[in-house]
Symmetry: C2
Subunit: 218 residues, 2 copies
């Protein structure tokens, strides 16, 4: 097969994002309780989830509001302890175990690897650096919304044809279907909370270990 | 001696701030060079210092501007690597070696310990938590500017008299003189870049180990 451009989603494709975000929240809650948040773990988690739902994930004062609601007043020491524990957990994040070996194999096969991700470019590079995966990728493409237009823009800016490219991700709605609409080959990793969702793809895999063989046979 | 309220400055009093900030910048530069910043260490450090001087320390785009100036274009991967190395260094910060033992001794003696600091309250708690010193302090008082008014406000809000209080810090202009003007006892730690500066104080010490004895004799 000729040199291919392979695009990867990051969250829940290269590493178990949901897993780490949950652990980060849990560790933050335990740290806040140890510094004076006056409730048990279960109630704090329930309240935090309510705040996340109410305010959205871009709100920056989740812990501050949590402390205020539970203790009846603001307490910057407790909030600082929560933020520190949250970031310490996030700093410990690691890729799915097969990922580094597979990415290296794909590079050795002569392919060019990209990231195609929803979010802010510097934050995605930060994730790749923390995961120790930055060296495998030539470029990070970001967008506010992963739709057909996003994948078409990538093809145009990189001067590529859809048939030279494949997209690998866990979400049919954001990774696979719009990439296929733009002419790419869509490989769906059936893992995490979207594993059972319906949606067409060119190929379904359980984890990334199957990728080199699939690409070789194309 | 009756129960005293002892106020501490944080930076360069409880831990060698300048030392860690310099290491953080140096580690950030090395990380950025390893990810593609096209210059040697010395030039990068010189350029960064120029940017810090030009833009001030509250500017948030130092590394971004550095990469743009040296490589001729923005590169979020390099910037992300710099920011990560910077924070990893800051996360490793530790107090001056004698500090935890002295603070514990002062607590055992029945004194009440506070922080009196320029900055944002949550950031100061974050420092104390990272330094492992948060448990020694009852309260963090912050201000934009450490002048006489700041110390007078503390006395008023805590319902304390100046003679019940002492302030410990490295800076004559911000820690010692204005606290003494407000009626506190001023103990100057002669350490770091202000060690040679002139300025009166009630007592001068070389490090915090002398504190318990001084306070006992008052």
């Amino acid at each position: 097969m000729p040199r291919k451009h392979i695009f990867f989603d990051i969250d829940n494709t290269l590493f178990p994002t949901s897993h780490f975000l949950e652990r980060a929240d849990e560790n933050a809650i335990n740290a806040m309780i140890s510094k004076g948040l006056r409730c048990d773990f279960k109630r704090a988690l329930r309240e935090l989830q309510a705040i996340l739902k109410e305010k959205g994930s871009n709100f920056t004062g989740h812990f501050d509001l949590l402390v205020k609601r539970i203790n009846g007043k603001r307490d910057t020491k407790i909030v600082a302890a929560g933020i520190m524990a949250y970031h310490n957990t996030k700093n410990a994040m690691a890729p799915y175990p097969e990922v580094p070996v597979v990415l290296m194999r794909l590079r050795d096969m002569g392919h060019c690897l990209h990231v195609a991700s929803e979010g802010v470019e510097i934050k995605q590079w930060d994730k790749l650096l923390r995961l120790g995966l930055d060296m495998y990728f030539d470029k990070v493409h970001v967008t506010k919304k992963k739709d057909r237009t996003f994948y078409e823009k990538i093809l145009k800016s990189e001067k590529l044809k859809g048939k030279e490219c494949m997209m690998v991700g866990d979400r049919p709605d954001k990774d696979i279907i719009p990439a296929m609409q733009a002419g790419m080959y869509g490989i769906r990793v059936k893992r995490g909370k979207y594993a059972k969702e319906k949606g067409k793809s060119d190929k379904e895999i359980k984890d990334l270990r199957e990728l080199p063989n699939i690409i070789e046979k194309l």
